[in-house]
Symmetry: C2
Subunit: 296 residues, 2 copies
């Protein structure tokens, strides 16, 4: 099976579970709130985090049904962070994945609540999974990994520091720190929590975290590159929108060519981190190679 085929399998299974979740909420969650939550949840996201979690649990022969609950929660957390990030008081973006952002489609108040609701629902789904789990300690630790990565010492810390930073005041070290918190935390979380759920030994968890950090840096660098060279049509958002706002980006500090070189370097480190998994690591290896090569 090719990488593309396996990826499609994961995404289809994930989208089906998410559609089932939505069905169950009709009548329980107020219609407008559920609409706003689902508008962004089903907005054509690449499902990177769910795929990472499912692939990790699959690689380690864990329980894929249990993993699916955590995968849904992860995507909800990612989606909430995008909705709040796009708000006028934050990045003030009108377009996301080629469609109006949540507060443009609904209104600001609804977008704030939809974000809050997605974060709360992520916790609720994982707690249900914890309650049902035969290994409660592993389920709790997996959930902790995800909530820590998304929280005040993780993703939100990155967003706060990103808001405070400007190109002039910043330096490459600060940029690395921000990206590590803002992006890498929520990319290592599916890998490490997947490992925990599947009962992987500590050494494997360390390797998965290392791989996730490489993936996070690549992810951000490629995003920055595409933000400079991409077109609005290809990206589904206004290109150079980050540069316009004096955001820190890698190309701004070290140039496009050097950024491309670094992507190659981090990709290699990511592949190396998977060595201990042997052939079973093929999907995660192809994942970082594909990600590094993406053009949109």
């Amino acid at each position: 099976m090719t990488f593309k085929e396996r990826q499609t399998q994961y995404i289809e299974a994930f989208d089906q579970s998410l559609a089932e979740w939505r069905e169950h909420q009709i009548g329980d969650i107020p219609e407008r709130l559920l609409s706003a939550m689902c508008y962004s949840l089903f907005a054509g996201g690449k499902r990177v985090r769910p795929v990472l979690l499912l692939a990790t649990v699959d690689m380690l022969e864990g329980d894929l049904d249990e993993a699916m609950e955590f995968a849904m929660a992860l995507e909800m957390i990612h989606t909430y962070s995008l909705i709040h990030d796009d708000l006028p008081a934050m990045d003030d973006d009108d377009l996301r994945r080629g469609r109006p952002t949540n507060h443009k489609q609904f209104d600001e108040a609804t977008a704030i609540l939809a974000g809050d609701a997605l974060l709360s629902e992520a916790a609720a789904i994982m707690l249900r999974a914890c309650r049902k789990s035969e290994n409660k300690m592993a389920a709790i630790q997996a959930m902790e990994e995800i909530m820590e990565g998304a929280g005040a010492r993780g993703m939100i810390a990155g967003q706060m520091e990103d808001l405070m930073a400007s190109e002039k005041a910043g330096n490459e070290k600060l940029l690395e720190r921000i990206q590590s918190l803002k992006t890498a935390c929520l990319l290592t979380a599916p890998l490490v929590s997947g490992g925990i759920l599947a009962g992987a030994p500590l050494g494997s968890l360390v390797s998965l975290r290392e791989y996730g950090q490489c993936l996070g840096v690549c992810f951000q660098m490629v995003d920055d590159i595409l933000d400079v060279v991409g077109s609005a049509e290809e990206m589904g958002k206004n290109p150079a929108s980050d540069a316009k706002k004096d955001k820190l980006t890698y190309p701004a500090f070290i140039g496009l060519d050097e950024t491309r070189k670094r992507v190659e370097q981090w990709t290699n480190w990511g592949v190396e981190a998977l060595q201990g998994f042997g052939d079973r690591g093929w999907f995660l290896r192809d994942m970082i190679l594909t990600l590094a090569a993406r053009t949109k």
Copy 2:
């Protein structure tokens, strides 16, 4: 010991735990984010929810140290909901408890992130408690009770419906539903989760939930009454600010006198719900009596 003395004991122990939490975060949470979180956390709140949880666990002779973690989480969730509620896109309030609201003291972006961070940190604290707990099932269920009460089928649902409602379109039934979701969910949560943590039988949990619902209705009705008759000085916020915005309130539907009568009725029902706990229920009984009689 008088009600007031016992209440002060709970509040002092709670504030000390919260101050210790803050100490531990210095250096881990970005300074501005932690400042914004703590600005609202330490803004002179009445600590109603933590006191309810501690009192319930105390009454049922459960573990007060474990309860304290859940009490902190509850207050963080309550605080996050106030910060987001005060935002310009929501209720647009400049004053809360006599001080500038979070987005006035900091800025909108910081207030949004501080709210997100408090909700995430609440989950992180409870998960740590779950991991340490000897009865993981009870800890998970207590956390579930709290997250469900705060989530898309609880408090956030109430806020969404509240935003959509106006005095003209509304009726008393809708008002009751909104208040039940918006306020009562987060007042039953400390009682029921406290009961679960202390290992109370199902019958006691039902009684605690019933009492919490009565408390929630009283709480909201008294708030509505004070909003009409209170002064800005006494309330620490602009009086009649809800009425100005065409919000649904009890006095607007049934008048001040009838609202006062209802407060008495719901107080009696609340006291009745505690009967099964005998003398041990004295603190919770005094709690609803005090709350019904409050003038600010």
